[in-house]
């Protein structure tokens, strides 16, 4: 299989990860490097399907592969997934800001409750 020599774009990574099965593969690889057979077993999918998904993930650089003896070992490449991480992180930050303000409101409500000893 010829390797596709082109730079993976952010959009590619997003598309690659949009597929639920591919996300399962990434999850399975989060714990460390694994051979294909292991993934086939963990996901309960047929080998050709797993290989197809792995190819897409390789093309965007989300996983890397190396041969060891007769085995092909796959591992995550966190760097390629960073744009997705950033995307969610920014949204997460807007919620963190809200919740920090909510903490202050709650602190006040707690003090008020302790102060008057009744719950209205």
């Amino acid at each position: 299989m010829p390797s596709v020599a082109r730079a993976a774009t952010t959009a590619d990574a997003f598309n690659a990860v949009a597929e639920p099965r591919r996300r399962q593969i990434l999850d399975a690889l989060a714990g460390g490097e694994r051979p294909v057979n292991d993934l086939v077993h963990a996901l309960g999918m047929a080998q050709p399907q797993v290989s197809k998904h792995l190819r897409v993930l390789r093309e965007v650089g989300a996983v890397e592969v190396r041969d060891e003896g007769r085995q092909r070992l796959y591992r995550l490449n966190g760097h390629a997934l960073k744009p997705i991480h950033d995307w969610v992180k920014s949204y997460e930050r807007s919620w963190s800001e809200r919740f920090n303000q909510l903490d202050a409101v709650l602190e006040e409500l707690k003090q008020k409750e302790q102060g008057d000893g009744s719950d209205e």
Binding site: W87, V88, Y91, R93, E97, R98, F99, N100, L102, L109
Partner: protein
């Protein structure tokens, strides 16, 4: 006044059309519910650091409407959301529809769940969109609001990935 933060919000994407936001609070859940559903209190936290709340309407009954409006601090434009209450279990669970008025076709269903242990509350907010495109747009809209802090955020991410 120093306020101890109970940590940061955690956002995950459990499915293509979902967003899950979780956070722990150092307060019992009846207070969290109160702060979540009382207009004067919502007005104090909902805009975060991104602007000023200009209107909070809450008609807390099944079928009742809600509408939140804020004025973004960068540019002064208004950002408004509205929806309808579908299920209300005080202090435990709140199901509402949610529409960002800048994207009126993308209605989501939000499920707020509060569980309490030892006086602390675990909050989970599941945002269920009808498709991946709307879900993605929702996350991106949050990103635009925060453009002014984007550089800081990126820096933090970069550090965390090291």
């Amino acid at each position: 006044m120093a306020v101890t933060s109970s940590g940061t919000a955690k956002v995950t994407l459990p499915a293509d059309d979902q967003i899950l936001i979780t956070r722990e609070f150092d307060a019992p859940r009846d207070l969290v519910f109160k702060a979540w559903t009382t207009p004067e209190l919502v007005a104090r936290w909902w805009a975060g650091d991104r602007g000023k709340v200009t209107r909070i309407d809450i008609d807390l009954r099944v079928g009742g409407a809600w509408r939140y409006v804020m004025e973004a601090s960068d540019g002064g434009f208004e950002v408004a959301f509205h929806g309808e209450y579908r299920e209300i279990v005080p202090s435990e669970r709140l199901v509402t529809t949610e529409v960002f008025e800048g994207m009126p076709d993308a209605a989501a269903v939000d499920t707020l769940t509060l569980t309490e242990q030892d006086g602390r509350t675990q909050l989970s907010l599941l945002v269920q969109h009808t498709c991946k495109e709307h879900r993605d747009a929702h996350i991106e809209s949050g990103m635009e609001d925060g453009m002014q802090e984007a550089m800081d955020a990126l820096e933090q991410v970069a550090v965390s990935l090291r």
